[in-house]
Amino acid sequence: MTEKTNTITLSDRVKDIAKDFGLPRLIITGFLVLLLVVSPFVGADLPTQISNIINRFSWNGILVLAMVPMVHSGCGLNFGLPLGIISGLLGATLSIELGFSGAFSFLMAILLATPFALVFGCIYGWLLNKIKGGEMMIATYVGFSSVSLMCMMWLLLPYHSPNMVWGMAGKGLRTTISLEGYYTQALAKILQINIGNLSIPTGSILFFALLAFGMWAFLHTKTGTAMTAVGSNPEFARSSGVNVDKIRLISVVMSTWLAAIGILVYEQGFGFIQLYMAPFYMALPAVSAILIGGASVNKASVMNVIIGTILFQGIVTMTPTVMNNMIHLDMSEVIRIIVSNGMILYALTRKTEETK
């Protein structure tokens, strides 16, 4: 008798877990596991693959982490991530323009990016407070507008560093700027572990861990608790004396700042600064990564960030190699588009306000 009930509860629990986890997420996880299993048989080197995934994780983790505060405060998915990225880019280019070099330029880039992120974040947050309920669409277009505005600015701002401007004209920033001699691999090199083909950028991961821990800790403070409550039920928060607009503003500023730091970390891994149209669609991978990790439009945790980034980057890096080795057909780009946008679509069509 007890045996029976136990099995029922067990299978129920499995079902529950599967339901919580969501079918698409399950498929994606299964797909990644399949790729990992198959890869040695088709001649792909597993350690290289794994270090690729870890590397990509360390580049992108913070950008995905930037989603968390706004989801928590009920502002939805931050499709306006490019705004934060632009703050980061301003910090990066200013740091180089002012003549800092080496790993120190990374620190300076963070410091220089911070005021921009705060100011942009405040304006952006103020705007989002005016249009509660329509955040996501407007965030998208605020991102787009700011990127295209900055396209003009990169040409017009008086940058002079010969490493950054077009050689011929002597003005206007290049589309890609090499970070060689500046902060390329600035974090990754710290305590880097190399075992055969496996290499782990310990520094970058530690940096991510630091920020992720900070986020986790913040969510355990009074303000962090208020933020979650605002996202969960703004009316409740208001009736409990919380200044909803202020909390939302804080979340937007945090998200923008994290995006700025995120892009700097991305650049130190990638080795280049990409300007102009590059930040345009950077929000989409980050959004789908956190959704793949188990977040929804109004719930997200640091764990979702970690799982999501690993799954997303795993698929992005594994598919091309495995596919190429298997059938000589590189469909990874198409798969990435379908999976990531499909995931966002899935999240958007979930009834998030079912409890209301």
């Binding site: 996501m136 669409m137 407007i138 277009y141 040409l155 379908i338 679509l345």
Partner: protein, 367 residues
């Protein structure tokens, strides 16, 4: 009372007025001749009007700006790719491409409508993501399935590797065939009469459509889904129909657009088309919940004048041609952003307005 009306009017037409000013300032600076400008605008009117008109129906049904009109554009492109592989040329080629594209558009519109019914209240962001998602499917079909699954014979269309379509597909055989079907030239301005006739017909269809039962239902659904449902209107179905219609028209519009262009950029022609069409419509004074045929034409004139003169004016002012190009991209996005913000703030204002009135009445009573 009159004063308030003026203010309202000014606010409603603030975007068109702003554009008139931009155009008025930039046009002389750009140094482009009026006849060149006229020619360009007439060409672009013929090229874009049909596409933009396809946006009107979802707005009527309260589904906002249809960012997923891109779906129709993709269907149109698939039609054209197939037709040019079959070597059907000229106007018959266009008609055949339309016949091929309609079922594809209808299917995509159906999908889109169903998804949007699951995401009521955030139609726009969802339709925007749908366009990306379907773009992935489109690439899957065009890049991998065309060749092995869908037969493609001609090597000037197919990639040398044996499957997939090239970056550009030439439509030389139907280039401007429709535009030049009935040649007319007034004062050096070439007028694509046949295209205009088709656009005019679509306008008539839209005007007529508003007078049908379905059009009436759509307006009702657009204004208040709950009331419409209570009165027995099948809200979901009505919304799906509006998406299907919009997508089908967008597909046909894309074919007209591409016959004017003369080639298909297989992987990018459609990707921004939605954005530019929406921007043009908004520039014409439309809003997220209200748009008319007049907005379409005014929008094309203003938006495309800006589009033509901005790079030239930018070059003259700053000496860098890219500035102007970035400027117009910025303006396109800024217009949409502003329109969306206005829409959302209005929605909130309307809500609080009712409250304010009550409060005012009570205050008066208290005094």
């Amino acid at each position: 009372m009159n004063k308030i009306n003026y203010g309202d009017l000014l606010r409603r037409f603030s975007v068109p007025i702003m554009f008139v000013i931009i155009c008025a300032v930039c046009a002389p600076i750009s140094g482009l001749s009026p006849s060149y400008l006229c020619n360009e605008i007439v060409t672009r009117m013929g090229r874009n009007a049909f596409l933009i008109l396809s946006l009107l129906i979802p707005i009527m049904a309260g589904m906002g700006l249809n960012f997923s009109m891109t779906l129709g554009a993709m269907a149109g492109e698939i039609g054209l790719i197939l037709v040019s592989d079959w070597q059907i040329v000229g106007i018959p080629g266009m008609i055949l491409a339309m016949i091929v594209s309609v079922p594809i558009s209808a299917l995509l519109g159906l999908f889109c409508g169903k998804v949007l019914n699951m995401a009521k209240g955030r139609e726009m962001i969802t339709s925007y993501i749908i366009s990306f998602f379907i773009n992935g499917i489109y690439q899957l079909i065009v890049l991998y399935l065309m060749g092995p699954v869908i037969p493609i014979k001609h090597s000037n269309i197919k990639l040398p590797r044996g499957y997939g379509i090239r970056n550009t597909v030439s439509l030389l055989s139907m280039r401007q065939k429709l535009d030049n079907l009935i040649p007319l030239n007034i004062g050096g301005v070439k007028i694509p009469v046949a295209t205009f006739i088709i656009i005019f017909l679509l306008c008539l269809v839209i005007i007529w459509f508003r007078k049908t039962k379905l059009g009436q239902d759509m307006r009702a659904v657009g204004q208040d889904m709950g009331v419409a449902r209570d009165s027995g209107i099948d809200v979901e179905r009505t919304r799906i129909i509006s998406m299907v219609l919009s997508t089908v028209f967008a597909g046909i519009g894309m074919i007209i657009y591409l016959q004017n262009m003369g080639n298909i950029a297989t992987y990018s022609s459609h990707s921004q088309i939605g954005m530019f069409c929406i921007a043009a419509l908004l520039v014409g004074g439309a809003s997220v919940e209200k748009a008319s045929i007049g907005n379409v034409f005014l929008g094309i004139i203003l938006f495309h004048t800006m589009f033509i003169v901005a790079p030239k004016a930018g070059t003259v002012i700053t000496g860098d041609s890219m500035i102007g190009e970035y400027f117009r991209v910025f303006v396109s996005y800024a217009v949409i952003t502003v329109a969306l913000i206005m829409y959302e703030t209005n929605k909130r204002k309307n809500k609080s307005k009712a409250g304010e009135q009550l409060a005012l009445a009570q205050e008066e009573a208290n005094e």
